[in-house]
Symmetry: C2
Subunit: 338 residues, 2 copies
DNA sequence: ATGAAAGCGCTAACAA
DNA sequence: TTGTTAGCGCTTTCAT
C-alpha cells in the first residue's frame, strides 16, 4: 500500500486538511507547520494520488488529444506544439490515434470524456454530423486544430489554406504555365476539397484558364501512390508542367517520378507543395513550399484550450495563423514569390 | 452535473451494484434486468466516470509513455507501435516528452506515477543511477524500449545494434574500403557509444584495420550538423570513402553534402545508415540501411508491459528483435550484403 | 492557522 | 440474482 495523505498527517501530527493545504500551496499554513509537513512528505516519499484528487476536485489536469495518426510528421509536429504548451500549464496529455475512422473518433471522444479530461484538442479530416452531435454533448471545451469546421461552430485554429493555394497557383501561372495539376491527398479531407482545391481553381478562373479535371489527382496520401500517379502522367503528351501538391510526401513522390524518368525540376516541371518538413529540404532540388506552421497550430490550440478551460474571456475562438512561402529550387529562379 | 451510476440505478429501480455489474459485463445479471439497465443508460446518456472507477479499483487502464521527442520520426513510429497494442488491450496512453533532460525524466516518472498509471514505457538515451533509483521506487512495471540498460535490471525491448553495426561495417570493408567513418548522434546516447561504435570498431579489429578517431564524428543529431561536418571532411585529402551513419537524417545530410560538392554516391563514397524511414527511400540514391523495427519495438514493449501488469508469467523480459538490411543504391551493386 | 467531516462516483466484499 | 455498505485518497466547506 502506498503512502497516503492520512499517513503523512498522522506522522506529522496534523490533520489531513493541513497536509492537503501544504501540498496545494495554500498560504494559510504556519511556516513551521509547513516545514514539518514537508519534511514528513520527503521522508515518507509521499506522492499525491492524482486520481483521488481528480475525483474530489473534478479536475484531472489532463487533456485529450485525438489525432488521425501521430506517426505522420504533420501530426507529430502539431502534437509537439500542443505538448509543450500543455507542459507549461501543467497538463498531461492522453494521446489517441483515430486513423481517420469516424467510428473510432466517436469512440475516442466518448472514451476521453469518460476519463474526465478537462478539455480536448481534436484533429480530423471532416467534422461529420455525428461527430458534431457527440462534440456538443461534451461537458468540457473542445478545440479543433488543423481541421475545418464548415459550420464554424467550434473553437478552431487553422491557417488560410485556400488563400495559400490560390497564391501558389497564381505564382505558377505567372511563371508562364497554363497547364497545371493539383495533386492532393484524399478529398474526404475537407481542407483538400474545400480549401486547397478551391484556391487552385480560383487562380485559374482569374487567369481565364479552365481547370482540367483530369489533372486534379486524388491520391491516398502516400509517397508511392503519388509516384505511380505521376509516372502515368508522364506518358501523356499533354502532361501539366506545373504542380501544386498537397504535402511534402506526395511532392517528393512526384519529384522522384519526374527525375527517375530523366526529366528535370524545375526546367521541365515546377513544383510547389504544402508543409515544408525536413523531407522538403532533404531532397534535391529542394521544394518550394507553403510553410504550414504546424508547431504553432498546436501551441495556439492548446493555449486557446487553457483559456476555455479557465473560462477566461476570449476575444475570438476562431484563430487563423499566417503562413509563408519558402522559395527553393523546385521553382525557377526569378520566381516572383521572392 | 453529469449522470452518475446512482441516477441510473434509481431510474431503473435497481441498486448501483447492479448497474455496475451491467457496465462491467458481469454475467451475474438476469438478461432482462441487464436490458432494462442498458436502456436507461442509453436514455440518460450515462458515461461511467473512469476517475471514480480508478480510485475504487486501483486500476486506471492508462499507461505512461515517456519519450525524448515524439515529433522525431524515430520515436513517433515507435510510439505508434505502442499505441496500437495499447488500443488492443484497451489502455489509454499519457504521452510526455523529456527532451532528454534527466531532470525532466525524473519529474515525468514521478508525475505519471502520481497519475496512477498501471505501467510505463520509458525511452531514454541513458539510464543514469538517479533514474534507476526512481524506477526502482515505482510500484508499477516499467519497460524500456529502444533504450540500453547496461545493468540489465529492467525489462527491455531492443535490437542488436552492435551486431548490426559490425555487420554493416564488415560489408563496407568487403566492398574494398579501408578508410571508414562512423557518423553518430550524441554519445550521451548509450546505444551510439556502447553499441554502434563498438560494432564499428570490432569490424576494424577483425580486418586488421585501426580506427582513425578523427573519423568518429559525434554530431548533434541534426541534418544540418551532419551536412556541415561532411563538407569539412570533403576538404581533406584523406577523407574516408565509406560511412556508417547512425540514422537517416544524418545520412541524408552527408549524402547531400557529398552531392552538393559534386561527388558521387556510391562511386566516391558508400553509405550505410541505421533506420530506413521514408527519408531514406525518398532521396536519390536511396540509402542502404540497417532497418530498425521501430514499430515492432513499440508493439512488443507494450505487449510485454501488458503481461507484466497482469502478472502473467513471462519467460523472458529482455527481448531482442531481429533487424534486416535493406539494400539500396548508396552502396555498390554487387554488394555481398545481398 | 487548523481540524472535522461530508462527499466525489465507483468497486468489491459480504449478505440476502 | 440482487442489494447493502464500506471504503478508495483526496478536496472543500464549515467550525473553531
Amino acid at each position: 500500500m502506498a503512502i497516503t495523505i492520512y499517513d503523512v498527517a498522522e506522522e506529522a501530527n496534523v490533520s489531513m486538511a493541513t497536509v492537503s493545504r501544504v501540498v496545494n500551496g495554500n498560504p494559510n499554513v504556519k511556516p513551521e507547520t509547513r516545514k514539518k509537513v514537508l519534511a514528513v512528505i520527503e521522508r515518507l516519499g509521499y506522492r499525491p494520488n492524482a486520481v483521488a484528487r481528480g475525483l474530489a476536485s473534478k479536475k484531472t489536469t489532463t487533456i485529450g488529444v485525438i489525432v488521425p495518426d501521430a506517426s505522420k510528421t504533420f501530426y507529430a509536429e502539431l502534437s509537439r506544439g500542443i505538448a509543450d504548451i500543455a507542459t507549461m500549464y501543467e497538463y498531461n496529455i492522453i494521446l489517441s490515434n483515430s486513423d481517420k475512422r469516424q467510428d473510432r473518433e466517436v469512440e475516442l471522444l466518448e472514451d476521453h470524456l469518460g476519463k474526465q479530461v478537462d478539455g480536448i484538442i481534436f484533429m480530423s479530416d471532416s467534422i461529420t454530423p455525428q461527430l458534431r452531435e457527440e462534440m456538443r454533448r461534451a461537458n468540457v471545451p473542445i478545440v479543433l486544430a488543423g481541421t475545418l469546421d464548415a459550420e464554424k461552430e467550434f473553437p478552431t485554429v487553422n491557417m488560410e489554406y485556400e488563400e495559400a493555394a490560390y497564391e501558389a497557383t497564381k505564382k505558377l501561372i505567372e511563371n508562364g504555365h497554363s497547364n497545371l495539376a493539383f495533386v492532393s491527398g484524399p478529398f474526404t479531407r475537407d481542407i483538400n476539397r474545400l480549401c486547397k482545391k478551391v484556391g487552385f481553381e480560383k487562380a485559374h478562373e482569374e487567369a481565364g484558364f479552365t481547370v482540367n479535371p483530369e489533372f486534379i489527382l486524388e491520391t491516398d496520401n502516400t509517397y508511392d501512390d503519388a509516384y505511380n500517379h505521376w509516372c502515368e502522367m508522364l506518358e501523356r503528351d499533354d502532361a501539366p508542367t506545373a504542380i501544386l501538391v498537397s504535402n511534402d510526401e506526395l511532392a517528393v513522390g512526384i519529384l522522384n517520378a519526374i527525375r527517375d524518368n530523366k526529366f528535370s525540376v524545375p526546367d521541365d516541371f515546377e513544383i510547389i507543395c504544402f508543409e515544408h518538413s525536413l523531407l522538403a529540404r532533404a531532397v534535391r532540388p529542394q521544394l518550394t513550399s507553403v510553410v504550414i506552421p504546424l508547431y504553432d497550430l498546436g501551441a495556439v490550440s492548446m493555449r486557446l484550450l487553457t483559456k476555455l478551460m479557465n473560462k477566461e474571456e476570449t476575444e475570438e475562438d476562431k484563430v487563423t495563423l499566417p503562413y509563408r512561402f519558402e522559395l527553393r529550387a523546385s521553382t525557377k529562379e526569378k520566381n516572383p514569390l521572392a
